[in-house]
């Protein structure tokens, strides 16, 4: 490190172990919040309402809160580990340090697939939004959605390519607008400001739990939508100025924001839209918050929620590009993938090859795959990642107890959050199996095949000597 000129404007003098060009540490807690909430908030604008279709409005609320517990555990566990293992790659790097190479390879792939699929799903949704607006403004004939889908992916990839500060500042602004839009809709439709239009009692009467408790279980699958992606905050670890403070702060503020947004969303929509319409996300209410705004009769609310929907979609795709590229970059840097992907742009300080490489993959899925399959693949990859987290934190605490290394954040009541998370993951796997059993089995088969490929072929190329980089003592028991 001493051989590097720290005053250079073109070389990264702060990087460890001979880094000449590294990622730039310019982000603060607000950017971490924007990354996590930005990826997720689109789930409040659309998607969560399939849970209503599975089990009715109350089932969707129960799923909302149980999924909220699941993700609170995820956020707390992630905050502790990532405040200590603060490097690009997030959970991949955590797995590499705490469990081992095969787990790390799988977790890295879960991350890349979850975020790239979600990015594709967001681009498809943005294309659809343009289509709807064209219809509403009297466009004759069908609008070709493809150029808008491609533009979303290309513009956001370009923004990510040009630098992380502008990318996540953009996310901060549009995510904040989308969140405020939900608050304004709540204040306007609940009767706090003006005349309320909600009537929960009438809408729920006779439809409390239309499919019984099995409907509640099935609703858990889509309950994840309220929070899916908050764990993405960890990918900013190598680019925040103060990881030990900013990562826990941004992540925990993010999950609190989402708990509020999710409950308000359920309350607003279930009090205005009949559950049969609300629960049909294909032929009924595609974007429930926007539909509620339309029923309010206020043009201003329609515009606000229209922009909120578009901004939430863009923020999610933007965050997904950021996160998928960091995971891919980190795997390339360790030679889990070709080392060529581990390059950093000397001017923009971004993992530019990883960003560009993932663009055609996102385009292929956005233009060639059905939306529900893309979303399912994303959810399943995410769920596999959540299952890894409790094992990760249990091993972390066992190998490096609290007194051996300092954490930026220590999550309370260990191991209760880990056990709770593992239990809720098992319940959600069963719920997913009820609806998408074939895809679940196919995807687990895929990960088994790539694990075999990694074990018998790829691992020989891994940069084993440089894998363990943290200045920690020997793990207990070794």
């Amino acid at each position: 490190m001493s051989s590097v000129d720290i005053t250079s404007k073109t070389m990264d003098g702060m990087g460890p172990h001979g880094t000449k060009v590294g990622l730039l540490r310019v982000l603060g807690p607000a950017h971490v919040w924007a990354l996590g909430v930005g990826i997720v908030l689109v789930g409040e604008y659309m998607g969560w309402n399939f849970a209503v279709g599975k089990g009715g409005a109350y089932a969707a609320l129960i799923a909302c809160w149980f999924a909220g517990i699941l993700y609170s555990c995820v956020a707390m566990i992630d905050s502790e580990v990532t405040s200590t293992v603060a490097s690009a790659g997030g959970q991949y790097t955590q797995a590499k340090h705490i469990i081992g190479p095969l787990m790390a390879f799988n977790v890295g792939l879960y991350l890349v697939f979850a975020y790239t699929m979600l990015e594709a799903a967001n681009a498809i949704t943005a294309g659809y939004l343009f289509y709807v607006v064209a219809q509403m403004t009297g466009h004759a004939g069908d609008l070709d959605q493809r150029p808008f889908i491609i533009l979303v992916i290309m513009f956001l990839a370009w923004l990510n390519y040009r630098g992380v500060l502008a990318t996540l500042t953009f996310n901060l602004v549009i995510t904040a607008i989308a969140f405020v839009a939900i608050l304004v809709l709540f204040l306007s439709t609940s009767g706090i400001l003006g005349t309320g239009i909600m009537d929960h009692a009438a809408l729920f009467e006779g439809h409390e739990l239309p499919y019984g408790w099995i409907g509640v279980l099935a609703a858990m699958h889509f309950g994840l939508w309220y929070y899916l992606g908050i764990e993405g905050t960890t990918q900013a670890a190598e680019e925040v100025r103060s990881p030990a403070r900013a990562l826990p702060f941004g992540t925990l503020a993010g999950i609190m924001t989402l708990l509020i947004a999710a409950t308000l969303t359920w309350y607003i929509c279930s009090g205005v839209l009949p559950w049969e319409f609300l629960g049909d996300g294909v032929n009924g209410s595609v974007a429930p918050l926007f539909d509620t705004a339309r029923l309010s009769g206020s043009t201003a609310l329609v515009w606000l929620l229209g922009f909120g929907t578009l901004f939430a979609t863009l923020a999610s795709a933007n965050g997904c590009i950021n996160d998928a590229s960091r995971a891919w970059f980190a795997m390339g840097r360790d030679k889990y993938l070709p080392g060529w992907f581990g390059a950093v742009h000397p001017k923009y300080r971004t993992p530019y090859r990883a960003i560009v490489f993932l663009v055609p993959i996102a385009l292929i899925f956005a233009l060639g795959a059905p939306l529900d399959q893309v979303i399912t693949f994303s959810i399943l990859s995410g769920l596999l990642g959540y299952t890894f987290m409790p094992l990760n934190i249990i091993l972390f605490r066992r190998k490096w107890p609290l007194e051996t290394i300092k954490r930026g954040y220590e999550h309370p009541f260990h191991p209760i959050p880990a056990i709770t998370l593992l239990t809720l993951c098992a319940v959600t796997f069963f719920a997913v199996f009820l609806g998408y059993g074939t895809q679940l089995v196919a995807m687990i088969g895929f990960y088994i095949v790539v694990s075999l490929w990694f074990h018998f072929w790829r691992y020989r190329f891994v940069n084993r000597g440089a894998q363990f980089t943290m200045p920690w003592p020997k793990p207990r028991g070794y």
Partner: protein, 57 residues
């Protein structure tokens, strides 16, 4: 041809422009800097945390 038809063309055009900008810059960067510099990034300890660590054996 209404506004939306023009917007379709604009979206195609902007997409190509963003794509070209990234591709040209990528090629320029790869030809200007050596691979050693571009892939020199290494994972490492946190400066702030390392200062506070009291490592026990």
């Amino acid at each position: 041809m209404d506004m939306w038809n023009w917007l379709e063309y604009a979206a195609w055009g902007l997409s190509i422009a963003f794509g070209l900008h990234m591709a040209v810059d990528w090629l320029k960067t790869d030809s200007t800097y050596s691979e050693d510099v571009l892939t020199s990034s290494r994972e490492g300890e946190l400066e702030a945390m390392a200062e506070e660590h009291k490592v026990k054996s």
